[in-house]
Amino acid sequence: MSKPLDYENLNENVKKCQYAVRGELYLRASELQKEGKKIIFTNVGNPHALGQKPLTFPRQVIALCQAPFLLDDPNVGLVFPADTIARAKHYLSLTSGGLGAYSDSRGIPGIRKEVAEFIERRDGYPSDPELIFLTDGASKGVMQILNAIIRSDRDGILVPVPQYPLYSATISLLGGSLVPYYLEETANWGLDIVNLRQSVAQARSQGKTVRAMVIINPGNPTGQCLSEANLKEVLKFCYENNLVLLGDEVYQQNIYQDERPFISARKVLMDMGGPISKELQLVSFHTVSKGYWGECGQRGGYFEMTNVSPKTVEEIYKVASISLSPNVPGQIFLGLMVSPPKPGDISYERFVRESKGVLESLRRRAQIMTDGFNSCRNVVCNFTEGAMYSFPQIRLPPKAIEAAKKAGKVPDVFYCLKLLEATGISTVPGSGFGQKDGVFHLRTTILPAEEDMPAIMASFKKFNDDFMEQYEDYRGYSRM
């Protein structure tokens, strides 16, 4: 008798779903690390793992919330600044029994209110806490919303290529269809409306109903920041085609140029006014894992729904309630993120100093990496305008592609494995994010410590230029 659960009788959707970020390269890197090789993990946006220090203020507050007996001690004011004590008491009072009690399935009401207030300050338009759900990280929120939308494989979701593979993996897992729209690398990974229309038309001609469109702004892995004009175009497009817009805005704090500051999809929508602002359905996602906070391990995030009817919100609430509640410490981190220390607060100066330090360093590292890649043979790299990644294009010579085929590997996987073995740099091959046929990339983060950057880029350049030397046809391409 065959086993009760083996590959043959496994849910097909599970088989189909792929998630490269923790896939082949990462597993090989982990193996090598176990064998004693020094690995530089640049495969995941995981700042604290690469030495970035947590901000002091939230850690003080959460420690007091973890161990409320500290608050009872008369000398606590000597150890913790007064504003952290006040904040800890504030958040504990919002819970239904401290960090250890299930909260409302949508998140602690007081914290959802703070999120709404943050959104209003940021955008200039009021936000309804009832339409804000806190989640164990933004990813869970994305999965919940896609699960509400996807009914069958005839439901298509527009996803940018390249994209963060949570989207492709979740769509596969839920049995839906991914409808790709290509970002234009030569136009700084810009969105092309013509291509968008073509993708939708093609999907419809295959009998699919296109239900939603995902935008990642700032982009992952591409880093581009959308302009207001871009966002307007996207919103109009979704309105005309009756799509829900899913705005993944988790990198909104990570902006490294001044021409295009972050502007939320919701603000642009509200600015447009008229029927579209009252009818276009939008879900916006945010997290404590990125920005200058980088608190990935807390699993804190939220989604905000715009123009979704109360009955539909009820159903989404119902599904959330099966998992009872998002984790309470993560919710508190989120509360602290949306209402950080203000001028005049005791912790304000330190907080600003620490935050600025992180952001300015990220900006410098984004530049170092882009320049570093562009100095390498057969490598072209757009500037990282935002987010946490660099996505250089690697122009692999035909001989390298052949060698990859012989080794049974996708060409960019082949390149990245060789890079890993030679230098210990662990990246994610571009095929994990999607790319145009015959064009190869890799994704790395800009997170290694600033002082390590020159050595890392030098190590990469040496490997790359040697690789290109090895595989380039010395007769030159034109002869092929």
């Binding site: 009760p4 009788n9 604290h48 009914r151 001609s205 391990g297 509640s325 410490p329």
Partner: protein, 533 residues
């Protein structure tokens, strides 16, 4: 406000779908809040959004979302929230001045205190700066400091804010594996352990792997914890019920399992797995070892995955029963580990620690081939990893202070106090329920609940029908309105058709128990006086 649903139990052998019924509020109240028109999608382009309905409405939402239910936070709870609000705005508006929540296993929300040692370690891990200075270290017990240092050294860069390995921090899994070994007397492999955000996400992962279509079924106990029915509906499979026997203290009969299995097979359903909740929820029974061996044999012979929900393993209140993990039981039998595909679930939400709000726990996955383990890993990796604080707590729960440790005595007395209090409250409430007219209640051998059966008089059943509500939901609502006591009607968990139950937790603090008992007793007498035949 949420739409209310009340389950109505179907005929035996037909518990695959639930009948949804609206609450007593007039339907027009709901339709007036609707902003969407019915919408029929074809592949054609809608020009201008205003001419057609929005893309995400009740008509176009994933139908599995509509189908799934979760009674624990359903109708009665929503009514309770409303009453709570009314009391706040208008004290004295009800015949009680506080609500008594007996609906959910959420100990800290009712005043249970966290275990000091655990919180000390967590605070130090969250803010390691405290460890660097002698004055701040002095606030914490020496072994908490030591444990925090040990844990931080197992985390790269001491970074509790970083994503960890998808299965959880290796050092913590090692600790948990040792804890499992100490518990069972058999080895455990850290690579079999997946730390997750509570037991619930683990259930979703396994169920997703198992269910290919509606023709795949999972055997679930009736009554069951509605995570299982909810998850099966959400992932498009079939729930195959097996009835626990109330007459024999909620006994699990293999003959019942066999009957249900055969019936489903004849309907073309492939039964993939068996869920066993031990200690039971809502029923509280602790399985006898001999029973567990029969279950393991049954799974082996029928080719089923065994899903062992063991989150209440530290909640056993009776001297004649003891918790045995299914892993231990199967290892003690003639089988090798690879013979029995088993998923064992543990959580930090229950026991004596009750840390629900953390979302922490693990599943131990044994007896599966490496390809399946890779698939489990892959699905788990979509979420990158579980929260670190919860991971740390799981390792503390599975490896608490030992004899000789600085904190051992205070830890022991905290633990003992909580567990013995739970046992006392279980007994007091059980006795109180059994003294009520027409109510019988099995003892709570473990877990956190009592699940009494009420013989509702015909008049009450008719009154319930008249307001379009299941009889036990009607009773629960009357109880709530009269006394402020919040329980969950048995239909939310499943029961033999024509029988009525409700689930009541044993969690209100001990000083509140007399009030619960007196209000309940008074209400029940009045209810029976009103509706007696």
């Amino acid at each position: 406000m949420r739409r209310f649903v009340a389950h109505s139990a179907r005929r035996r052998n037909n518990f695959t779908t639930c009948v949804l019924r609206h609450c007593t509020l007039p339907l027009r109240l709901w339709s007036s809040t609707s902003t969407s028109k019915p919408c029929y999608f074809s592949g054609s382009v809608a020009s201008g959004g205003s001419a057609s309905a929005p893309p995400l409405t009740l008509d176009t939402i994933n139908p599995k979302v509509l189908k799934c239910e979760y009674a624990v936070l359903g109708e009665t709870f929503i009514l309770a929230q409303r009453l709570q609000q009314e009391l706040k705005e208008n004290p004295g508006s009800h015949p009680f001045n506080e609500l008594l929540y007996c609906n959910i296993g959420n100990p800290h929300s009712l005043g249970q205190q966290p275990i000091t040692f655990f919180r000390e370690v967590l605070a130090l891990c969250d803010h390691p700066v405290l460890l660097d200075r002698a004055e701040t270290r002095g606030y914490f017990s020496a072994d908490a400091v030591e444990r925090a240092l040990q844990i931080l050294n197992q985390i790269p860069e001491r970074a509790t804010g970083a994503y960890s390995h998808t299965q959880g921090i290796k050092g913590l899994r090692d600790t948990i594996a040792s804890g499992i070994e100490a518990r069972d007397g058999y080895p455990a492999d850290p690579n079999d352990i997946f730390l997750i955000d509570g037991a619930s996400p683990a259930v979703h992962i396994i169920i997703q792997l198992l269910l290919r279509s509606e023709e795949d079924g999972i055997l679930c106990p009736i009554p069951q914890y509605p995570l299982y029915s909810g998850s099966i509906a959400l992932h498009g499979g079939s729930l195959v019920p097996y009835y626990l026997d109330e007459e024999t203290e909620w006994g699990l009969e293999i003959s019942e399992l066999k009957n249900q299995l055969e019936t489903e097979k004849s309907k073309g359903i492939t039964v993939r797995a068996l869920v066993v909740i031990n200690p039971g929820n809502p029923t509280g029974q602790v399985l006898a070892e001999s029973n567990q061996r029969e279950i393991v044999d049954f799974c082996k012979n029928e080719g089923l995955v065994l899903i062992a929900d063991e989150v209440y393993q530290e909640n056993v209140y009776v001297p004649d029963k003891k918790f045995h993990s299914f892993k231990k039981v199967s290892q003690s039998m003639k089988y090798g580990m690879e013979d029995i595909p088993l998923v064992s679930l543990q959580s930090i939400s229950k026991g004596y620690y009750g840390e629900c709000g953390r979302r922490g726990g693990y599943m131990e996955v044994t007896g599966f081939c490496s390809e399946i383990r890779e698939q489990i890993y892959k699905v788990a990796s979509l979420d990158t990893c579980s929260n670190i604080s919860g991971q740390i707590l799981a390792s503390l729960v599975m490896n608490p202070p030992k004899v000789g440790d600085d904190s051992y005595e205070s830890f022991s007395s905290e633990k003992e106090a909580i567990l013995s209090s739970l046992a006392r409250r279980a007994k007091t409430l059980e006795d109180a329920l059994n003294s009520l007219e027409g109510v019988t209640c099995n003892r709570a051998e473990g877990a956190m609940y009592l699940f009494p059966r009420i013989e509702l008089p015909k008049k009450a059943i008719e009154a319930a029908k008249a307001v379009n509500t299941a009889p036990d939901a009607f009773y629960a609502r009357c109880l709530l309105n009269a006394t402020g006591i919040v329980v969950i009607p048995g239909c939310g968990f499943g029961q033999v058709p024509g029988q009525w139950h409700f689930r009541c937790t044993i969690l209100p603090q001990e000083d509140k128990i007399p009030i619960v008992v007196s209000r309940l007793t008074e209400f029940h007498k009045a209810f029976m006086d009103e509706f007696r035949n």
